[in-house]
């Protein structure tokens, strides 16, 4: 894996985007960028297990939900500050990934995909029935909680900065993994797991760790998102459509690359935004997303970055 300069433009790009709402003091811009960054982080994390390791985690939203619920519970019922709560959300998601990964990562291909959908649906219906997590209606913050951060307005900005930090860390970590010996091991698993095993790759541990990495960041993201939202419910936290959105962004940008999921997420957020405000397309956005996804799968399986890397070999150093 040749070291390139991908991070030298990718991180500044994210910083510029993140700085825009701060400089303009625009609440509307902040809301848009918050979602954008959230998508970037989610897509980049999913890419670690999907793009680097080749395991199609179809129910990946489960880690976002677990992180969200863990942090929300700790803030709402225990009174913890948002920082340790968010960290706990990420750690909980990673631990659950290690635990269920031990079992489901033995499955391969489509069967693994189905199992992860099953895991998400099982967790969703379990949470729906757990009284101490608020059951089907979920939990709501008492607005007093935001006082600790200087009021609701400041708390939301705080959540925004947290999201910026988490997003940049996610992208940097994904770059570091890809360009490490560990990353080479993951890619060998993606290409042929049996061959990797015989070549000396501890496939079981590598996969588990990749799954934990790709669960940790969605755990953080979920925690921040629901802190900012002020309420959490099972239908939002474990919404399978969010899983699909993550996969869509990874595929659109180019799976297995570092910049692909970032580009995919940025484009997807804008696309969705444009379609949703247009009265004609508002109700058609799902069908349009489906059509685009089909076109990618059929004609450009490498996504945007994969296509560019194919067409312009010179760009490879900066487009990892």
């Amino acid at each position: 894996m040749k070291k390139g300069y991908t991070l030298f433009w990718l991180v500044p790009l994210l910083v510029v985007i993140a700085a825009y709402p701060v400089v303009t003091h625009s609440v509307m811009a902040r809301e848009i960028v918050f979602i954008m960054l959230m998508y970037v982080s989610l897509a980049a994390s999913l890419n670690i297990i999907l793009g680097f390791t080749g395991y199609v985690s179809f129910g990946h939203v489960v880690f976002y939900g677990i992180g969200g619920y863990t942090a929300f519970f700790l803030m709402h019922k225990v009174g913890l500050h948002v920082l340790p709560a968010v960290l706990a959300g990420g750690i909980m998601a990673a631990l659950v990934a290690l635990l269920i990964g031990e079992a489901v990562l033995r499955l391969r291909g489509a069967i693994f995909a189905i199992a992860t959908i099953g895991v998400n649906e099982a967790v969703k219906s379990l949470v729906t029935n757990l009284g101490f997590l608020g059951g089907a209606t979920g939990m709501f913050f008492n607005f007093k909680i935001y006082r600790a951060y200087g009021g609701a307005a400041k708390a939301i900005w705080f959540a925004y900065y947290l999201m910026v930090a988490v997003t940049i860390v996610t992208v940097v970590v994904s770059y570091l993994i890809k360009n490490s010996k560990y990353g080479l091991g993951l890619f060998s698993i993606r290409e042929d797991e049996d061959a990797a095993l015989v070549l000396g790759v501890n496939t079981k541990r590598f996969k588990s760790l990749a799954y934990a990495f790709s669960a940790f960041f969605p755990g953080l993201v979920g925690a921040i998102f629901f802190f900012k939202a002020g309420n959490i419910e099972p239908e939002d936290a474990f919404h399978l459509v969010k899983s699909i959105e993550m996969i869509f962004m990874v595929m659109l940008g180019g799976y297995g690359t570092v910049s692909g999921p970032v580009i995919g997420a940025l484009i997807y957020e804008r696309l969705k935004g444009m379609l949703l405000v247009n009265p004609l397309f508002k109700n058609l956005h799902m069908a349009i997303a489906g059509f685009i996804l089909l076109m990618i799968v059929l004609f450009a399986p490498g996504g945007i970055v994969g296509y560019l890397r194919d067409k312009f070999r010179k760009l490879r150093g900066v487009l990892e």
Partner: protein, 284 residues
Amino acid sequence: MDAWVSAILSGVLLGLAYGLAAIGLNLIWGVMKVINLSHGAFIALGMFAAYFVFHSFGISPFVSVILILALGVVVGMLAYFVALHRVISAPELSTLLSTYSLSLIIIGLGTFVFTTNPRAIDVGLGSIKLFGAYIPASKVLTGLYSLIFTAALYVFLFKTWTGKAIRAVSMNMTAAQFMGVNTTFILSLSFGIGIALAMVAGALIASVFPFTILSGGIYELKSFVICVLGGLGSPLGALAGGLLLGLLENVLTLKMPVGYVPFIEFLILVVILLVKPSGLLGKE
């Protein structure tokens, strides 16, 4: 006592219909190693087809299913050429995503055209007394029809040349190709039949329960559970799995809150995949 009889009968009858949808999923997996993530969308399409035929022409779903079956085969074969043919030998991710995008397109267009308002088909056949319990006639017919369609599929798969070719392709595609089987046709036909079964199951279920364009998703997830129960790729296993799930759903609710039923179903799905991926009823 009556509650038990009625629960068990409902379980069996609905289980047969769930089984029918799952057989479609299983046939597709068995022949082309594709998990059809558009199954739910086609189940919903079947529901709406039955609904419109019923409301426009007053034709009962129990008559229009034949039409829907034929429509399903054609639509399914078309869908194969649009979404699957190009990626049929690509890694699983491609077929998972291409069938999922089909589902997005169908449900997206469906939402646009039909909105997500709930609908129902009231065939108005009243109830039948069976073993001391009153069961809606539409439920009885649904079970009966599902059984007939399953039997017909078996006759087709085992007694006709085309059916045998489908089984040959599912066992060994390359060998079948050498024996002169047109694999492209067989693959598209298998997908067509799988889709047709999903649509038929949808049409039958629509005569029992109210539905929206999004309802297919629930039945698709049920189909996964059933296939895993009965063994992925085994059509008869799917029927048994359907019965098991139908019974589980209807009998469990007598003893525990309804909310826990999906949890138990998906727990079963995951546990069986882990412990015995060949399915509870599958061969080693």
